[in-house]
């Protein structure tokens, strides 16, 4: 009988590069920037790492396929390096590989690193996702914002909202994340904005406007994990351990079956329920202290609050406008600025979220440090509302 991942693996060290339009550096520099911080934080040497997982999503504009770019860049010791790609959950997927390897007892210390160099394309926004030949024939001519605009449309219809109702809440979300990012030196977008700026911004994909879209950024983030016992033997105390790690993928139901009404993320709900069970959380609204969720577009954050059971269904707008998820609210969300402002280098994002939670739990988040952070939850959603990969990770102090 499986017992879950809770407290079996500790984070030994983490690192995160500056995110942004890093015109002057390549993916290799970003990898080294994140890794240098993590290896120093872990207090080990490269030769101590037994296996690695490497996340990149858009190989065609990044470092190409395979685990070789990581192995070569860090001159790893001919260890196993596995490249993973699972849309925007790629970074979390790398973390999962490393955590499971340690938990299995197959290795002592494992590395998870995600990097994305997106700003070598020559245009704004993401490159097109790779498709199979049949998808060329049948898929709608869609972009990422247009895909996520579908959830706005579905949520608005389900709850009988006006466009203005929705816009007010998503604008609040964007304003909040911009304000938070002012305290994140490594964030991509560090500029306060107003509610009016969000509402009046040019439309990218109706109803999503420019300031409701996250930054398309270059960046890398990294985690080194081991067992709590090894961490303690290396002199670490006040360990941060993994409480839950759950991945849920669409199986075609949302895209092909009429039972899904288009107003929520089916996979996020499933992953959340599983993660809370794994972490023995029964009252998420009280027990989750902070979140970094997949705010690729502000509407995604809004709907996700309900799918994580932090807001009741249909009440996320009220909660958002009441400041429940603001930096000084009950459950701060995107305390580092989120995808929206810290940035979204796809392969790195899941690890960047964990990095902020890790710093907060350790009390190392400097000017954005929350007063009493408890469990931290990270959430990725790759794909689009009707066909996606949802990943939820919960970390916290070894002893709560």
């Amino acid at each position: 009988m499986a017992t879950g991942i809770r407290d079996k693996v500790a984070i030994l060290g983490m690192g995160c590069s500056k995110f942004g339009e890093r015109w002057d550096v390549g993916a290799e520099d970003l990898i080294i920037e994140a890794y240098s911080e993590a290896i120093k934080d872990a207090g080990i040497e490269t030769k101590d790492i037994d296996a690695a997982w490497f996340a990149t999503a858009f190989e065609q504009v990044n470092v190409g396929k395979s685990g070789l770019p990581l192995s070569e860049t860090l001159r790893l010791n001919n260890i196993a390096v596995t490249r993973v790609e699972n849309y925007c959950a790629s970074g979390s997927e790398a973390f999962r590989g490393a955590v499971y390897a340690v938990a299995s007892g197959a290795v002592d210390i494992a590395l998870a690193l995600g990097v994305e160099k997106l700003k070598d394309t020559g245009y704004g926004g993401l490159p097109p996702n790779g498709m199979g030949p049949l998808q060329f024939e049948t898929n709608a001519n869609a972009s990422a914002p247009g895909g996520f605009a579908q959830i706005a449309s579905g949520y608005q219809a389900k709850h009988k909202l006006s466009r203005e109702d929705l816009k007010r809440a998503t604008a609040h979300i964007s304003v909040k994340s911009h304000a938070n990012a002012l305290k994140s030196p490594n964030a991509h977008l560090r500029k306060a904005i107003s509610q009016e700026q969000v509402i009046n911004a040019p439309i990218i994909a109706e109803p999503i406007g420019l300031f409701e879209c996250c930054g398309v950024s270059d960046g890398a983030a990294c985690a080194i994990v081991t067992t709590p016992e090894i961490a303690r033997s290396l002199g670490k105390s006040n360990l941060v351990t993994v409480k839950a790690l759950q991945l849920a993928l669409s199986n075609g139901l949302e895209a092909s079956h009429n039972s899904w009404d288009g107003s929520y993320f089916h996979t996020t709900r499933i992953a959340a329920a599983r993660a809370y069970k794994e972490a023995a959380i029964t009252r998420p609204q009280e027990q989750i202290g902070m979140t970094e969720v997949h705010d690729c577009f502000s509407i995604t954050e809004l709907v996700t609050m309900e799918d994580l059971y932090l807001s009741e269904e249909g009440s996320a707008i009220g909660d958002v406008l009441d400041g429940k998820y603001d930096a000084d609210g009950a459950i701060p969300c995107q305390i580092d600025g989120g995808l929206k402002c810290f940035g979204h280098p796809i392969g790195a994002s899941g690890l960047r979220m964990l990095y902020e939670m890790y710093l907060q739990i350790q009390g190392r988040a400097e000017t954005r440090q929350l007063s009493s952070p408890k469990l931290g939850l990270t959430h990725n959603l790759g794909g689009n509302p009707s066909r996606n990969v949802a990943c939820i990770c919960i970390i916290g102090p070894e002893r709560l």
Binding site: P133, L134, S143, G146, S256, H257
Partner: protein, 488 residues
């Protein structure tokens, strides 16, 4: 054996380009264009071509009789997308015609529409087929600022030829072939090359047409004064009326030209006007159809009593009325690839078609065939080995979606993705009876999309691979435009 037309209809694109808008843009270059600046011309959207319009017209005429009775398919056009790939074969798949049929592309002159009809009538009369589908469709490009740009229009017309249930009995015909080159379009040329219109009128229309009509009347034993409808598509204003009068068609209603609103839809024009005449005719009427182009075809039909009860699914008149005026001439240039414009880098992405993968999925791509689970009766699109609802393996029967209507569950209007007609609309479409698909939505204006909007399926160009000369077609959702729009 008596044969004739048993079903008829037409398709005219939604947009009608204002000729004044064309003149406003181009009369500095050619002041003579001002004289033609009245009315509108039908303007296909960027995702329509002669093939997609043919599919739409063809689908309409088989609504009544059904696709299974069709044993021959004649597709007439001078603007079909493929030179060596059976365009009628692509259209036949989208119309859901049986595979065991004769299918032909017929072109070569502006008479191709009536040539196709004559061939279908002859083959049916000879007992080679019980019923045949005839479709004429045209989308001609013309240089910016040319008189043809003003005169042409995009449209398609279709009819079913049969030995049974005819609404218009075929009486007979006569044809003359004359290599009178009023215009030509050489292999690979983008545009037609025209000679002086006065010569075309005086030496062509005024000589070849009357001579052929005279011979046609005589050979078929018909007196001019017995003809009820004189149908002659002609770009010269008033010439049809003058010809009818001069030749003694004293009782005949001269069928009104569609030039004022639609323009000249080339090979589709004779059939489009014939179909409109049938909508207006009464049992017993004798209809004469004249078609000009390197010679002349003249055909005679007699409306039967069945005309009263067999009405078109939508009809040419309803299509004439359903248009929406477009005053943005630049949009016309962009839609027709007549101007070098900034497309952005997202237009550069290569989407090479895998012909083997396309062939494997032929049923899905041609007429939107998905599956229905025989265990739990859940319709699903695309069909999959495992049922999306009950998980049964290999439990699905083919289930066609192309004739089903649906509603919009969610949607967006996307300015980021590359589109020739931004913003690109798409959304999750819920089919009546079950099943759904995230699809492009076409012929929709910004502000028009909303949850629960009713849509029908249309076969359209998905994208054009200019590097390889390949056109990808697929189904899109389109807001319902006619109250009579039904299932095909």
């Amino acid at each position: 054996m008596d044969v004739g037309i048993s079903s008829y209809d037409g398709y005219i694109p939604k947009l009608r380009l204002s000729r004044a808008a064309i003149a406003d843009a181009n009369s500095w270059l050619n002041p003579a264009l001002r004289a033609q600046s009245e009315g509108t011309r039908a303007m296909a959207s960027w995702d329509e071509d002669s093939l997609t319009m043919a599919v739409e017209a063809g689908r309409r005429v088989i609504q009544g009789p059904g696709a299974d009775i069709i044993e021959g398919f004649y597709l007439a056009s001078t603007t079909l997308p493929y030179e060596d790939r059976l365009n009628a074969g692509i259209a036949a798949g989208a119309i859901s015609l049986k595979a065991e049929i004769q299918a032909f592309d017929i072109g070569g002159s502006q008479r191709a529409g009536t040539s196709a009809l004559l061939n279908a009538l002859a083959a049916t009369q000879a007992g080679m087929q019980k019923s045949a589908l005839v479709v004429a469709s045209e989308k001609r490009r013309a240089p910016a600022g040319s008189p043809q740009e003003m005169q042409y229009g995009d449209a398609a017309a279709a009819c079913v030829v049969s030995a049974e249930d005819v609404v218009a009995r075929f009486i007979g015909s006569h044809t003359s072939n004359v290599d009178f080159v009023d215009h030509f379009r050489g292999r690979g040329a983008d545009f037609d090359y025209y000679w002086e219109d006065r010569w075309i009128r005086d030496e062509g229309w005024k000589k070849i047409v009357p001579k052929t009509i005279e011979e046609a009347l005589s050979r078929n034993g018909i007196q001019a004064d017995k003809v009820s409808r004189f149908i002659m598509p002609c770009p010269f204003r008033g010439l049809a009326e003058k010809t009818a009068k001069r030749m003694g068609f004293v009782r005949a209603i001269v069928q009104e030209s569609l030039n004022a609103h639609i323009g000249d839809a080339g090979v589709a024009q004779p059939l489009l006007m014939l179909n409109l005449a049938l909508e207006q005719a009464e049992p017993g009427d004798i209809l004469m159809l004249v078609s000009f182009g390197q010679g002349c075809d003249v055909l005679f039909f007699e409306a039967t009593d069945a005309l009263v009860r067999t009405r078109p699914a939508i009809g040419v008149q309803a299509e004439l009325d359903a248009g929406s005026e477009e005053t943005n001439y630049m949009k016309y240039l962009v839609f027709n690839d007549l101007v070098a414009y900034h497309k952005g880098m997202r237009a550069e992405f290569d989407r090479k078609a895998s012909l083997s993968a396309v062939y494997r999925q032929g049923a899905l791509l041609s007429d939107l065939t998905g599956g229905i689970c025989t265990k739990c009766e859940t319709p699903q699109l695309p069909s999959a080995r495992l049922c999306v609802s009950c998980g049964s393996i290999d439990s699905q029967q083919p289930y066609r979606f192309s004739h089903r209507q649906g509603t919009i569950l969610s949607w967006s209007a996307d300015y980021l993705t590359h589109s020739i007609d931004p913003p690109n609309h798409y959304g999750m479409i819920e089919f009546e009876g079950g099943g759904r698909l995230m699809m492009d939505i076409t012929d929709i204006d910004p502000g028009e999309a909303k949850n629960d909007l009713r849509v029908g399926m249309v076969y359209r160009v998905k994208d054009i691979d200019a590097q390889r000369g390949y056109r990808r077609y697929f189904w899109k959702a389109r807001p319902l435009t006619h109250s009579t729009e039904g299932s095909v």
